[in-house]
């Protein structure tokens, strides 16, 4: 008999297996950091997403210096001068006569902390006369570093909210279809197939076209979430339904019926929880689809609208090869999309390894 007082559930055991996978834990930490920077985007970034200065259009990343007149000093940046070259391109040069130390917790653009507490403090920044572009600027002289974190708010949250909506629908529809079977099953599955039949991206475009023009950015955001979930739930419902078809034949379902539990209770407590191990890694593996879906919409200008940032519309600038050649830093949002998608996939795979009993028994050999 074991000493522990609290019993380990299957999930606890699976979590212990997950902790042994270093790569997956690393990805989870990285993902956690990305989400933190998105939540605290106002604070982490030196400028607000809309703070622009057109004198610094496509300014390259600002160099940070720590060496001046033969001595170490606190980090600082020089002022930036611009001139036009023979091809009417701007050439930026450091103006060594001006020097702006980088200070922590400086006052900058006003924002509301958590949307509630008015606040002006930023993690770091320079005096208002200078500009700091850690990762360069975009065409309007907005700080890409700041905009990436603001963009993360949209891109990262859309995956979570989207999967939440489509999973709720998928579990309910799949659970009902699988548990009752027969005609209900037929009708629900034909509806699912209708959604799966239409190629996803075109359905996305068609639905987006149906969203009224006068929607403000928040409404557009929710419209996109709903559209993405609307497309995503059908595949999931089918798989859940398949699992429920076999789960409903289990003895404990018959036992639950014989004890007078209602159909809703049986589906919710005795059938759907058994799809949990599948659902958890399916969630992890589906979230990237939502992030990519939003990025694709925003990239072609149908998603989040300027000046609001999302990783997709930040990349819209990078659609021209000329821009990439001269201002390579505008590709940075792609790196963030890439990292996020990789992280979710690695975590999803790791979860599948430790949740799927079939794989587990195979590993022992």
């Amino acid at each position: 008999m074991t000493k522990q007082t609290k019993s380990l559930s299957e999930l606890d055991i699976a979590f212990q297996g997950f902790k042994k996978n270093r790569l997956a834990v690393g990805c989870a930490v990285l993902l956690g950091l990305l989400y933190l920077t998105a939540i605290f985007a106002d604070f982490v970034s030196p400028y607000s997403y809309a703070n622009e200065d057109r004198r610094y259009s496509y300014s390259p990343p600002t160099a940070i210096h720590v060496w001046r007149e033969g001595r170490f000093t606190r980090p600082f940046v020089y002022g930036i001068n611009s001139a036009f070259n023979d091809y009417h391109q701007r050439i930026y040069q450091e103006d060594q006569s001006q020097m702006f130390p980088i200070s922590p917790f400086v006052k900058g653009d006003a924002y509301k902390f958590f949307g509630l507490i008015p606040c002006r403090i930023h993690l770091f920044g320079v005096a208002p006369e200078g500009r700091i572009y850690l990762w360069g600027a975009d065409s309007r002289g907005r700080d890409l570093f700041s905009r990436i974190f603001y963009g993360g708010r949209v891109s990262l949250s859309i995956g979570i909210i989207g999967i939440f909506i489509s999973f709720t629908i998928g579990l309910i529809v799949g659970g009902i279809a699988g548990y009752y079977g027969g005609r209900i099953d037929d009708i629900l599955m034909r509806v699912c197939e209708m959604f799966m039949m239409v190629p996803g991206f075109y359905l996305l475009l068609a639905l987006r076209a149906a969203v009224p023009d006068e929607f403000n950015s928040v409404q557009v955001y929710f419209a996109i979430v709903v559209i993405l979930s609307f497309i995503g739930w059908a595949g999931l419902a089918r798989i859940i339904r398949g699992m429920c078809l076999s789960l409903r034949e289990r003895d404990y379902v018959l036992a639950a019926k014989s004890l007078g539990l209602s159909d809703g209770q049986i589906i919710a407590r005795h059938i759907l929880p058994h799809t949990l191990s599948y659902s958890i890694f399916a969630i992890m593996l589906s979230i990237p689809g939502y992030i990519l879906g939003e990025s694709a919409l925003s990239l072609i200008g149908l998603g989040i609208q300027d000046p609001l940032a999302s990783w997709g519309n930040l990349l819209a600038d990078a659609m021209s090869i000329v821009h990439i050649k001269f201002y390579p830093w505008i590709l940075l949002p792609a790196l963030f999309i890439f990292l996020t998608v990789i992280c979710f996939n690695v975590i999803g795979d790791a979860l599948r390894d430790c949740l799927d009993p079939m794989l587990k028994s195979g590993k022992g050999a």
Binding site: A255, L259, Q265, H274
Partner: protein, 260 residues
């Protein structure tokens, strides 16, 4: 004698949609009187379990009752609407199954599973339900009710799982318990203990039991009356002493001679 608790009248079940199919049970009629333990015996495939499930209207989708009545307190169970039938399941008639490991949900603790039945059928507060769970585990003879309530089914031994399932079945004070081969997955000493428990429950909870089994030893020790099924038909029924001592039908004689 008063009106029987449960009576089956000419119950026939067939495979749905198949013409000319042999009926699985054919014109089965017997009574369960209050406080009696009635045994339903027969070989594999004789229709014992089908009879048990048809009382609760839980036959698999492919099977259908084609004629007959099942009266519980004089009320025809087949005529009841679905929600009334659900109130009767667990509350008035409950059922326990052959393999407790399969009949308990592996993802919920024993306490949670008993609690569920209480939520369905008893108007109790959360605190009262917690106490009732411990009380029930105590009634079925669990040594450490507190610990067992927090355990998952796989952490219990076979005998304890069977007791946990019985606790679930008696949670809402039913009048009748259908026990489908309750001891066939247990060893002989445990079988004796479960039989003791059944006797004890009948006495303390006024429980009648419909015992579905192929174990004539158990029938002899536990049951008051016996109904012998062969290929879906009743071949003999009567008090246990009479049927086992002087069986009239050849099939009953064969059953007895193959055991003793």
């Amino acid at each position: 004698m008063s009106e029987p608790l449960l009576s089956l009248r000419d119950v026939t079940a067939e495979v749905d949609g198949v013409n000319e199919s042999p009926s699985l049970i054919h014109r089965v009629s017997f009574d369960v009187t209050a406080l009696k333990i009635v045994a339903l015996v027969g070989g594999s495939g004789s229709g014992k379990t089908t009879t048990g499930l048809s009382i609760l209207r839980l036959l698999p989708v492919a099977l259908r009752i084609t004629s007959g009545k099942i009266l519980f307190h004089g009320e025809d169970l087949f005529a009841l609407p679905g929600h009334r039938m659900r109130q009767i399941r667990g509350k008035d008639i409950s059922m326990i199954f052959q393999e407790p490991l399969n009949a308990l949900n592996p993802l919920l603790t024993i306490g949670q599973q008993i609690n569920e039945v209480l939520i369905c059928h008893m108007p109790l507060t959360a605190k009262q339900r917690r106490e009732r769970v411990l009380e029930l585990l105590n009634i079925v003879g669990m040594a450490e009710p507190q610990r067992v309530a927090q355990n998952y089914p796989h952490q219990l031994s076979g005998g304890m799982r069977q007791r946990a399932m019985i606790a679930q079945a008696i949670a809402a004070n039913p009048q009748l318990m259908i026990a489908d081969e309750p001891t066939s997955s247990l060893d002989v000493t445990l079988q004796a203990k479960i039989m003791d428990l059944f006797r004890e429950l009948r006495r303390s909870l006024n429980l009648s039991i419909l015992l579905i089994t192929h174990d004539l030893g158990m029938v002899r020790h536990l049951a008051d009356e016996v109904v012998v099924l062969q290929a879906g038909k009743i071949v003999e029924q009567g008090p246990v002493a009479r049927v086992l001592e002087s069986p009239r039908h050849q099939y009953t004689q064969q059953l007895i001679s193959s055991v003793f």
